[in-house]
Amino acid sequence: MASRFKEALESGKFVITSEVAPPKGTNLDKLMHHIDLLKDKVDAINVTDHQSSVMRFPSLGGCLAIKEKGGEAIMQMTCRDRNRLALEADLLFAYSRGIGNVLCLTGDAVPVGDHKEAKGVFDLDSLQLLKTVRQLASGQDLGGNKLEGAVDFCAGAIVTPEANPIEPQLIKFEKKVEAGAEFFQTQAIYDLENFTKFMKYARSFKTRILAGIVLLSSARMAKFMTENVPGIFVPQSLIDELSGVPKERMLAKGIEIAGRTIAALKKNNVCDGVHIMAIGKEEVVPEILAAAGL
């Protein structure tokens, strides 16, 4: 049976996803609060998988919490921490518990996180993980053995439209489409002109693209991201716009920028939807949606 998120993708509507980050520890209060806040306002909620290689409560656990609350979850799955047996097993488990969507990622490098001496596994990569999801759906595991009960995930991947150089990134994007990626959630985009150019190219492929919207909560954060985060470019005009308001109004300005970006993408039919990442400020996602007129 198709997941609710897959139905939304296929309906042709402007799809909205957002994401929550599990806690470091077992206190789920904040996570639950964020799920309550988002579950009826977006088409699906991603749960990050040890984002930035920082050990946390697992993505699968967060997805089950969303499911229990009647929401729609997208399980983020990286190849950093599990070999192919463990990834396959977690896919089987997730599917058996009603998780119908998976985002296949390579995963950040171990040394950028908080367990710097851990072994980075990378037995599979994001592309091979997508293929694995398809193989499990065909009723076989990666060893070629028959499964008692297959999976039927809506599987997606990521792409970085601002990567430099862009060509190697696009080759991988095309390989992911061929591997059966039904949707893409992009790295944060701010330069609409460049993103529109990317979408002209991406539209020729049979997949859905949700533009990544990362909330700029301050001018400092915007400057940091553009200088340090791979694949993110924040135009100087946006940094200036944030710098131009008093400190206490910067978050509101960031919400306004995110809202108007989403509204422009929707109005001009640039892409198939958006993926909103508020990174620690999940409580303002409803305000971003309101600012976008959604």
Binding site: L124, S126, P165, K175, P230
Partner: protein, 214 residues
């Protein structure tokens, strides 16, 4: 091709020699001489430092190539001085330690860590070029090994951490897949990058790996 080593911190060497008061020091005339981690000068310097540490140094030598079978004869030549020692302190790479441990029954304590097998790309600059995976991909990747040169060992193209041709783990390190892309493009063979590379077989040769040449 060289076995690249780095000397351990003196505190760690001292810890390794705990309870072993009489020490015979052995360096190697090949790789550790080249990398200045276990040649004649370093062995002499180590002997001095061991004496400062209160150890009794029974002797020292540099074996021409510590990992080959001449090591047995070299040890025999110095047998009286090794016999009276509590241990050998090795300033050769791990391959040499393996060889030294076969004879005379003395414990061999490493003074250096073996980091990787490197090629000398420019004078004095050694770089790891091969991870000895047993399934050579270099024909598809323009002679740049992604298993070795990509931090994550990715075989299907760059990850999202690539930034202006550099790697997310270190801004000084090149992104392997940008290098591969550039070279394949120059060779007019970009279609190789478009092909799907299946998951690797991590047991091409079962560990511990060995081979007998007939």
């Amino acid at each position: 091709m060289k076995s690249i080593t780095r000397q351990k911190k003196m505190e760690e060497i001292q810890q390794g020699l705990k309870g072993l008061d009489r020490v015979f020091v052995i360096g190697c005339g090949t790789c550790t001489t080249m990398t200045k981690t276990g040649g004649i000068d370093q062995v002499e310097e180590m002997k001095g430092r061991l004496q400062q540490m209160g150890k009794s140094v029974t002797g020292g030598m540099v074996i021409p190539t510590a990992c080959d079978d001449v090591t047995e004869a070299s040890l025999k030549e110095n047998e009286p001085y090794i016999r009276i020692a509590d241990c050998i302190l090795s300033m050769s790479c791990a391959l040499g330690i393996h060889r030294m441990s076969l004879y005379l029954g003395k414990p061999v304590i490493p003074a250096v860590d073996t980091l990787f097998i490197g090629v000398e790309e420019s004078p004095g600059y050694f770089r790891e070029a091969c991870a000895q995976c047993g399934q050579c991909l270099l024909g598809d990747t323009a002679g740049i090994c992604p298993i070795t040169a990509c931090h994550k060992g990715l075989v299907n193209g760059p990850c999202g951490g690539t930034n202006n041709g550099k790697c997310e783990v270190d801004k000084e390190k090149d992104c392997a897949w940008t290098l591969i892309y550039n070279r394949l493009k120059a060779q007019g063979r970009l279609e190789l990058m478009r092909q799907y590379q299946p998951p690797r077989n991590h047991h091409i040769a079962l560990k511990p790996r060995a081979i007998r040449i007939q």
